[in-house]
Symmetry: C2
Subunit: 338 residues, 2 copies
C-alpha cells in the first residue's frame, strides 16, 4: 500500500486560468455560465480543464456563495421498504436541481439545537414524521432554517409546509371494504406507534368505518403493531393465544402485515378463508406475500418528490403550498378474500 499516503495534487482555478492564459474571474464565469466568455476562450478553458483534470472545490464554492448545495434528510430510521422509494423520490428532484443529499437518522443529535451540526450546513432539510422532537422543529423554524415536513403536520404556531397522504380516509375505506364486501365484523386493528401522526389517523379511520357500519368499537381489538414485522407478529401471537374471536386484521402498514401473516400461518389459521388481512402502504413486497396482500397504495415516491419540490420552492424564496395531501388508492388482492 505505498499509495495510501499519496496526496492528490490539488488543481485550483488558478492553475486552469494560468494554463488558458486568462484570469480566474473568467474561469469562474465559464464554470458557472453566469457571464460572457468569448468563443475561443471557451475552447482554451475546456481544454485546460481536461488537461489538468480540474474539479472545483465544493468547500471554496460554498464559502463564497454561502450555499452548500446540499439538502438534509431526517429519518427516524433507514430501515423499512417505505424509506427507499421515499428517498428515491426525493433524490430524483434534488439531483435534477443540482443538490446532493445528506441522510441523517436521528441518532446523534449534537448541535446546539439538538441537531447534528452537519444539518446547519445544508441549504434546507426534509423532516420525516417523528424523527425530530416538535420543539426542535420549532427552534429550527425560528432560526429561519428552510424545511418541509413529511407525514406530519406543522407544529402549532409555525408555517412549515407539510406533505402527507389521506391517512384517515383511506383507512376508513379499506376497513369498510372488509365489512361491506366480506362481511367481517370483528376486525383487529394492528396500530402503529402512537407518536406517529399517521398511525393515529389510521386508527381514527378504522373507528370511522366501524361507526359508519354501526359496529361497536372494541378497544380490545386494537393491538400494538409498531409498523414493525416482529412487534406485529408477537402481538397477534399473544392475542391468538388468549382469544379467538376475530375475523380480520387491518395493519397500520405493510410491514406489520408481514408479521401478521406469519403469526396466522404459524397458528394454522387460513388467510383469507378464516381471517382477512389488509395492510397499508402498498410496499413493493406486498404483491409477493402469500396470499398477495390487499392494501392501500401510498404514492411514496411522489410524496418524496413533492416534499423536495416544496423545499426547493422555499429555498428560492417562493411560496410553497403549506399543506399537500396526496391521494391514495385501494389495491385489492387476495388476502382480504377478493
Amino acid at each position: 500500500m505505498t499509495r495510501s499516503n499519496s496526496q492528490v495534487i490539488s488543481i485550483t482555478i488558478r492553475d486552469v486560468a494560468r494554463r488558458a492564459g486568462v484570469s480566474v474571474a473568467t474561469v469562474s464565469r465559464f464554470l458557472n455560465a453566469n457571464g460572457p466568455v468569448a468563443q475561443d476562450t471557451r475552447q482554451r478553458l475546456e481544454q485546460a480543464m481536461l488537461d489538468l483534470n480540474y474539479v472545483p472545490k465544493a468547500a471554496a464554492r460554498s464559502l463564497a456563495t454561502r450555499q452548500s448545495r446540499m439538502i438534509g434528510i431526517f429519518l427516524s430510521s433507514i430501515y423499512g421498504d417505505f424509506f427507499t422509494p421515499l428517498i428515491s423520490g426525493i433524490e430524483e428532484v434534488t439531483a435534477a436541481a443540482g443538490f446532493d443529499l445528506l441522510i441523517s437518522t436521528a441518532n446523534q443529535l449534537n448541535g446546539p439545537q439538538d441537531l447534528p451540526m452537519a444539518m446547519f450546513n445544508t441549504d434546507g432539510m426534509l423532516v420525516f414524521a417523528d424523527s425530530l422532537p416538535v420543539n426542535t422543529i420549532q427552534r429550527c423554524y425560528e432560526l429561519g432554517l428552510h424545511m418541509v415536513l413529511i407525514q406530519q403536520s406543522a407544529p402549532h404556531g409555525t408555517l412549515i409546509p407539510s406533505v402527507t397522504i389521506e391517512n384517515r380516509q383511506a383507512s376508513r375505506q379499506v376497513v369498510s371494504h372488509l365489512i361491506e364486501v366480506h362481511g367481517r365484523k370483528r376486525i383487529v386493528m394492528m396500530a402503529g406507534p402512537s407518536s406517529h401522526e399517521d398511525a393515529q389517523l389510521r386508527t381514527l379511520g378504522y373507528k370511522d368505518a366501524l361507526h359508519a357500519a354501526g359496529l361497536k368499537y372494541d378497544p380490545q381489538l386494537v393491538l400494538t403493531g409498531g409498523f414493525d414485522r416482529q412487534i406485529a407478529e408477537a402481538s397477534l401471537k399473544q392475542f391468538i393465544a388468549q382469544n379467538w374471536d376475530f375475523d380480520a386484521v387491518f395493519t397500520g402498514d405493510d410491514d406489520a402485515a408481514v408479521g401478521v401473516l406469519a403469526a396466522l400461518s404459524k397458528a394454522g389459521i387460513q388467510v383469507p378463508e378464516e381471517v382477512s388481512v389488509v395492510g397499508f402502504d402498498n410496499q413493493l413486497l406486498s404483491a409477493y406475500l402469500v396470499p398477495p396482500l390487499t392494501t392501500v397504495n401510498v404514492p411514496i415516491n411522489q410524496v418524496g418528490q413533492t416534499a423536495a419540490r416544496q423545499l426547493l420552492c422555499l429555498m428560492r424564496g417562493e411560496h410553497p403550498n403549506l399543506v399537500t395531501v396526496l391521494p391514495t388508492e385501494l389495491v385489492l388482492r387476495h388476502s382480504c378474500g377478493c
Copy 2:
C-alpha cells in the same frame, strides 16, 4: 409564508471572539481542542457560543483544512433490503469518527472521471460491487482517491482494499445440504446478474456442490434471477410452463427467493414438499416468508462496518487489509424441508 425569505443571520467565529473578548485563533483552538485555552477563557467562550447560537461553517473549515469530513457511498441502487443494513453498518463507524455520509446511486456520472463531482469532495469513498465501471475505479485509484471496494475484488494492477464474504464456499454448502440431507437432484440455480462478481461466485459454488456429489451440471437449470423478485418470478414461471423436472431452487439472493416462492405458490407447487427453496443473504424478511426461508447468513452490517474501518485506515495513511473475507453461516429454516 413571510418567513420564507428570511435570512439566517450568520454568526461567525469573529462574533464569538468579540463577545468573549479573545481572538479568533483562541476560539478555533477551543473549538477543535487542539491547543491550550485557559479555564476562565473556556467559560466565556462556552457562554458566548451559547448566547449567539454559534455553529461553525463546514465550508470554511473544509477550505482551511482541505478535508470535507464526508465519506461517499456508491451504490448501484438504493433499493433492496440488502443495502439498508449495509449503510447502517457503515454509518455506525463513520459517524463515530465524525464523518457524514453522502450517498450516491450511480445514475448521474458527470465529473471528469465519470464520477459525480460531489465525490471528489469527499475524503474517501466506499464502492459497492458493480456501481462503477472498472476503468473508472482504476482512474480514481490513479488520482489517489481513497476508496474501499465492497463485494468486489480490486481491479488488476491496483491495490484497493476490498471487503467481501465467502460467496463460493457458502453456496456450495447450501446446495450440498439440499443434495445430501434432502436428496434433491434437479436443482435450479436462479443466478444473479452475471456482471456481479458475487453472483458469479455463487454460481460457481453451485457447480462445486453438484460436482462433489457426482451430479451432472445442466446449464438448462440455470435461470436468470437478477437478484430481483420480479425477474426471478417471471423466470421461474416461464420455466415451469415448459418443464417440470426440478425438485429444488437455489436463488442467488433472498430477493429472488421471494419471487420464486410467489411463482411456486401461484403454480400450486408445494414448498418444501415438492420443491425445496433456499436463498442467500438472510435478509430480515426471510424469516417471515411462507414457509420461512432457509438461507445463508451474510453479516451485511459487519461488511459495512469493516469496509468503513478499512477506509478510515486508508485515510489516516495506515495500512489496511487488502482483502477481507467475512464468514457466512447456514441458516436452516423450513423452505428446504428441514
